[in-house]
């Protein structure tokens, strides 16, 4: 981190303005030799032509189809009298994650200060330059809104992000150190508001509570105070159970993911795909490096099989074969659940290969040193190898997140009404059937996918630079 300080120092010494004049810049960058001059002129004509054409197209095209279907594109067929659930769950997420992430930023800031290092705190302007594509998309969506509530909701959400950033930073240290459980509980509460007592909430509440409990329990074995460990371990489970109990007692009839749709479902499917693929992928990666032929063989066959066939064939498997694998006495889960099972396995295979790359990057001496100090095999993996491997693969993991985000458009082909599917749905409505408005809807959907994927790919490049992957 001192390097960045030095870099800042030298940046201060650099001249504030260079000697370039606009004319010189144009000559240097556009007309520096004959070939480049020809290319510039030709491309310039093409670019101007294309820009004029597309502006003309945007101005003349019929955008009513987006206005009418805006809610479909965003949230699908979610019942209109239940919209408050969506808004509440979104605000809970924004609040907990806004506070949580900025509290964690403050923590690492303090840690660094203790070690005599400086971390630059990212300003709002930085955030703006990092997330502008999403903001542009949000502005586009808001501009298509026909009524006021969504506009006000979005404004409240965006200002909520700003407020919670300051709130999280200002929290006292003991609360800040509990940021991760806070975000986890926020996720459960948000899901509970949205989905009520459906199996989805129970499942995720259980997983999150167990994960937190397990991570706290592991500290006990590393020798922390038994009493506080008991509280920390029991706490999440009690809170998770209490949430479910309260939700159940109030009789919250919620709407599970089978009722969701649009961009909301697309984003959710991506997050679930990565989150559930992650633990399976980790196990597969470790298994593939195992010296036991049976375990290694199974992992290799699974990974190579899943990576060798297209996702569409796996989705066909989920809709035609997977129902046949459940015992006859059990009712088969619905289309989306089956698709999510397959997507989790699909992303697990790809994540396994990414993590394997990271594991190979960890020097063997690390494992040997840990063995020499008498650690158990499980502990070596968890405390020594995995943290280093995961740090090295964060950018690749974001890349996987992006490609899964794009690949979820395929679940439209088995009849799930996610973001992409609403192109077909809106164009087959009586009001728009046969009017040739496909291009309009494709353009809108493309902007939606692009804004999220592009932001994430910029973030992954930033992370790569920040973590110094491949640089020593």
């Amino acid at each position: 981190m001192t390097d960045t300080a030095e870099a800042k120092e030298s940046a201060k010494l650099a001249p504030l303005h260079s000697d370039t004049t606009p004319a010189k810049w144009v000559k240097d960058n556009l007309f520096n030799n004959v070939m480049n001059s020809i290319i510039t002129v030709l491309l310039g004509v093409v670019v101007v032509f294309l820009l004029v054409q597309s502006f003309g197209w945007i101005a003349n095209e019929e955008w009513e189809i987006i206005r009418v279907n805006l809610r479909n594109f965003m949230i699908g067929q979610f019942p209109s009298d239940q919209l408050w659930r969506l808004w509440t769950s979104a605000f809970v997420l924004i609040a907990t994650f806004g506070i949580g992430t900025s509290a964690r930023a403050h923590n690492s800031h303090d840690d660094a200060a203790e070690k005599g290092l400086v971390i630059e705190r990212s300003s709002l302007l930085d955030l703006l330059s990092r997330f502008w594509p999403i903001l542009v998309f949000v502005a586009l969506v808001v501009s298509f809104a026909k009524t006021w509530p969504p506009v006000l909701g979005v404004i409240a959400g965006v200002s909520g992000i700003v407020v919670t950033r300051f709130a999280g930073w200002a929290l006292p240290a003991p609360i800040r150190s509990r940021a991760i459980p806070m975000m986890a509980i926020g996720t459960i509460v948000s899901l509970a508001v949205l989905a009520g007592t459906s199996g989805l909430v129970a499942l995720s509440a259980g997983i999150v509570a167990l994960a937190i409990a397990a991570s706290e329990l592991s500290r006990f074995f590393e020798g922390s105070d038994p009493k506080s460990t008991a509280i920390r371990t029991g706490g999440p489970i009690v809170i998770g159970a209490a949430t479910l109990f309260i939700v159940n007692a109030v009789g919250f009839e919620g709407y599970g993911w089978e009722d969701w749709g649009g961009l909301h479902l697309t984003l959710f499917a991506t997050v679930v795909g990565i989150a559930s693929g992650m633990p399976i992928g980790m196990l597969l990666a470790i298994g593939r490096r195992s010296e036991l032929p049976v375990i290694k063989g199974f992992c290799v066959v699974f990974i190579e099989f899943v990576r060798g066939v297209p996702l569409i064939s796996l989705l066909l498997f989920s809709s035609f074969i997977l129902p046949l694998l459940f015992p006859p006495s059990v009712e088969t889960p619905e289309t989306l659940t089956r698709a999510m099972i397959v997507i989790a396995l699909f992303s697990a295979a790809y994540i396994a290969e990414i993590i394997r790359g990271g594991l190979q990057a960890v020097p063997k001496g690390q494992t040997e040193a840990a063995q020499a100090s008498g650690m158990s095999a499980a502990k070596i993996q968890r405390l020594i190898v995995m943290p280093q491997a995961l740090r090295a693969v964060i950018p690749a993991m974001v890349g996987q997140f992006i490609s899964l985000f794009k690949d979820t458009s395929l679940i439209a082909t088995i009849g799930v009404a996610e973001f992409f599917q609403y192109v077909a749905i809106s164009n087959s409505q009586p009001a728009f059937l046969g009017k040739g408005l496909q291009l309009v809807t494709y353009a809108f959907v493309a902007v939606g996918y692009w804004s999220f994927a592009y932001t994430m790919s910029k973030e992954s490049r930033r992370l790569e630079k920040q973590l110094g992957v491949g640089v020593r």
């Binding site: 480049n36 199974f298 035609f320 046949l324 082909t413 992409f420």
Partner: protein, 416 residues
């Protein structure tokens, strides 16, 4: 019942063998005093863990298979491949197969169509991607910015969207059949259903001519090798492209004249709604091809750019010092070294291209996924069809990566 007994016998047999093997190992070791107990003996633990894993995998597979059999017999699904001989009931565009042809014939046609996408698309994507990757590094600001916009646009939208977008744009941009666009004096046909190009049609001496062309090709290769050897020996400029091409063209032209024009050029025409002459491709094929090439090229461009940047800067400077111009620098110094770095990730892109070709069904092109989805629609037995589908893609993937690895091994520098 017999099946279960058989399984039990196998498990017992494995356990007995393990027990004997364990005692063999134990008794053959030096002394029993420093032997660990079995539950801490790594030789035992290794075997035990694998047996446990095997048992787990086996019982899970057994459970799923039992469910599968119960459900399939409930709905009366046969699990054999006899249905492949039945009439398919689907017709494939641009193909003599009618709906009475066997399902197996339709599947073979689907595999051929998939192959047709891959074999044409991958070279095109590599060419376009390389050009765009180089353009991103151009000193021309406008060119590099346009290349960047292209890459960032296509990399960040779903490939399915790219394909259907191409299809829609072609559908809207090209005229309908009755007012087809006929550029270059009606030698081409473009409309929103079909593209037609001129092609050649062989006369009665066409077979002989093909042999001559083959011989010309061999002669050209020989000339190429001769010039290369000469260059290696004496340093005379090789001009092997010139010599090779010259040999090929000269022999072919002489053959063409000697045989008195063994082939004619035909141009496509529409006579009574039927396309006559030339070579035509249906629009979905063109849409899939263009869409996949545009999408894959954006990924390949990034690989090419990264590999060019990975070439040591000193190499470029040395090329400059030798007064190579920018084309020569790329051709002789940078690209050969960059290609070595780029090849492994390129193989990955080829595999992705193959898998993405499965999305052609979205615009109605009958490649293997499309054919099989069509058959699903007629409630043909899904398990067998899906098995065929996955095996086909696995074979494509395996063959492609085998070829790729072979080339990659030739490319890498042999260590000193």
């Amino acid at each position: 019942m017999l099946e279960r007994l058989f399984r039990l016998a196998i498990i017992l047999g494995v356990l007995a063998a393990l027990y004997i093997a364990y005692w063999k190992v134990r008794s053959s070791s030096r002394s029993n005093a420093d032997e660990p107990p079995p539950w801490r003996d790594s030789r035992v633990l290794v075997v035990a863990a694998q047996v446990a894993a095997l048992g787990l995998i086996w019982s899970a597979a057994d459970y799923l298979w039992a469910n599968f059999r119960a459900r399939t017999s409930d709905i009366g699904l046969e699990l054999d491949f006899g249905f492949l001989d039945q009439p398919s009931g689907i017709s494939i565009a641009d193909n003599p197969l009618n709906s009475n042809a066997a399902i197996s014939a339709a599947l073979v046609q689907g595999i051929k169509n998939t192959f047709l996408i891959i074999i044409v698309g991958i070279p095109l994507a590599v060419m376009l991607g390389t050009l765009i990757g180089i353009a991103r590094l151009s000193t021309n600001w406008l060119l590099s910015k346009i290349a960047t916009v292209y890459v960032e646009f296509f990399r960040n939208i779903p490939v399915l969207l790219v394909i259907v977008l191409t299809w829609t744009i072609i559908l809207n941009a090209f005229p309908p059949v009755r007012i087809s666009w006929l550029p270059f004096g009606e030698t081409f046909i473009f409309n929103n259903l079909r593209f037609g190009f001129p092609s050649i049609v062989g006369g009665d001496k066409f077979g002989t001519f093909q042999v001559i062309v083959l011989l010309a090709l061999l002669a050209a290769v020989a000339a190429w090798i001769w010039r290369s050897r000469l260059f290696d020996r004496s340093g005379t400029p090789h001009h092997r492209v010139l010599y090779g091409l010259g040999t090929f063209v000269a022999i072919s032209v002489v053959g063409f004249i000697a045989l008195g024009g063994p082939f004619d050029i035909t141009t496509p025409e529409i006579i009574d709604r039927v396309y006559v002459g030339g070579i035509t491709m249906i629009m979905p094929y063109a849409a899939v091809m263009i869409g996949l090439v545009l999408y894959t090229a954006s990924h390949i461009a990034e690989i090419v750019r990264g590999s060019i940047l990975s070439v040591d800067k000193g190499q470029v400077e040395a090329g400059n010092a030798l007064a190579l111009n920018s084309f020569q620098r790329y051709r002789f110094v940078i690209l050969p070294q960059a290609f070595r770095v780029a090849f492994p990730p390129l193989i990955n892109q080829f595999l992705n291209f193959t898998k993405n070709s499965s999305l052609a069904f979205a615009v109605g092109f009958a490649e293997i996924t499309g054919v099989i989805q069509n058959l699903f629609g007629q409630s043909r037995p899904a398990p067998q069809l899906l098995l065929i589908l996955m095996v086909v893609y696995l074979v494509f993937s395996l063959v492609l990566s085998a070829i790729g690895n072979l080339i990659n091994r030739r490319l890498q520098i042999v260590g000193r």
